[in-house]
Every structure is written in structure tokens, then in C-alpha cells.
Amino acid sequence: MNNGLFDPVIVSFVFTPLTVTGAVLFALWWRQIRDCRAELDAPGLLLTLAVRATPEARRNWGQAMLAELETVQGRLARWSFALGGARVALFPPSGETLLQPAGRSPIFGMLSVALPPLGLPFIYFVAVLIEAIGGNPLTSSHWSNPDAMMIVVKILVLLTLGSLVAGVPFGLAGWLRRERMRWLSAMGLILSVCIFAYFLSAMRFLSGGD
């Protein structure tokens, strides 16, 4: 494969947004758990953090799961219990509907943070896969129907661009829905704008370098 997909510049361009987002989220998580880092193991920290984001009305159930985790023995069992408990703590059953005014699960906020940094790795892995299967659709004759392949590529590029800017609508939706952890929606919105700006400037740099 000599098309430059594994060029360190390209790889670092693709994975920078994901790495930076991961580092920011980890730093925020690390800061939030600073008061109990020394006492708890990783499953305990995970569940503690999730319980802190649990809506007030369900907080006692989060505390119940935390207390229960103290009695669970064995690493696998603890992880299994903590992961399940964290899911319940973040998305507790409440019978809530989209019309309820406050305290909703932070679905849109999470999507707004998760989607933008995944756009470039997504198109990168798809490009590697396409390259491995039949070569570059623009230049390779391995594809039996190059026109159809080009349509697929165009759809994938549109999906990628959509993913890069998805933080804006999802962030706005999360903010307007007054989801819990509203900072996620704000972060997703800002992140999306930054990643798109990064993408445009990096593309300009890369095309100028050719």
C-alpha cells in the first residue's frame, strides 16, 4: 500500500481530535474523582462518578448500588456490577418523556461529544478497508463497478462531514432539552466547531503540501 494512508502526518491528523477529546474527558473525570481516588478501585470510581450524575430523585438508588458494590468480590464481578450500575445511574428508569422540562438523560450531550472526534477515524478506517479490498476507487481497476463505488465513497464522505459537525445540532438539542450534565452539550458544540475548523485548516495544509 503506497498511497500514504500510513504516513505519520496523515495518521496524526486523523487521530488528533480523538486523542485531544479523550485527554480532556479523562482530565475532567480525574478532577471530579480527586476526593475518592485513593480509597476506591477502578469499578468503584466509575460507579461513583456515574452516581454523581444521577438525577436527584434517583440518587438514593445510586447510593444503594455503591453500597452494594462494596460487598461484591472478584475483579470481573466488580466490573460487571459497576458497568451495569453506571448505566442505570446515568439512565435510570423514570418514565420521562421528551416533553418533561428538566433532568433528562444526557443522550444528546453524549452524542455531541462522541460523534465529532470519531468522524476522521471513521473515514480513515473505511479508506484503509477500501484500499485493502480493491485499491483506490479513483485509480484502481480492481473494482467491477467503479461508478457505484464512487457513490459509496461520496456517501461515506458526507457521513464523515456530518459527524464532524454533529456536535452543533446535538449540543443545541441537549442544551435546549435541559439535559443533566449540560456542560456535555456545551462541550460538544464547541468541540464540533473546533474539530471542523481543524479539519479545514489541516486539509488546506495537506493539499498545499502536495
Binding site: L66, A67, T71, F81, G84, G85, V88, P92, P93, G95
Partner: protein
Amino acid sequence: MQRNRLPSEQTKTVLLALAEDPTAWRHGYELCQQTGLKAGSLYPILIRLADRGWLETKWEEEIPVGRPPRHLYRLTEIGLEQMNEIAAEKMEVAKAKRVRLRPQTEGAS
């Protein structure tokens, strides 16, 4: 508004486990082990049962040293009534199945 849906199979499993000894207070992890359900499945069921008034909850009164008090659960009177109805329904379904199967079995012999 509280929805009054029929309990799922998993909910029935939890109800059955709680009904084994209706007077005893049970722990969440103990119920996980007894029913084979993961925490992510068990706790939403417990929350819904408590919301419907089928489940009574309380915190452990004797707090052991070195760990926080645990949450305890048992069925309420309403929960027990519902449990009995579910058990009766199950019996009816099983009976109906036996009646449907009997002519075929007799015909085969």
C-alpha cells in the same frame, strides 16, 4: 403518569425470587446472584417495582464498620397480591397447554 404494563419475564423472575421468603429483607447483589440478572437489568426492575408500590425499601439499620449501609428490599402487600395473580396466571397457562397437548398425546398412543 405510571404505566401499568404487564411485567416482563425478568420482572417475574425478580418477583418470584422476592416471594420465596416475603418477610425477609433482601440485598441487591444477592438478588443478582439468585436471579442470574446483571445489575444493569436488576436495578431498573427494582426501581420500577418500588415506583409501583410493589416493593418496600429501607437502609440497613446496623451499619457495619468499614462499609456504608446497604439498601434492602422486600415485597409489599400489593406486590404479594400481584405476585399471586402472576402465579395464578402461570398455572392457568400451564393448564391450558396440558389440555391442548392431551388429545395429541392420546391420539399418538
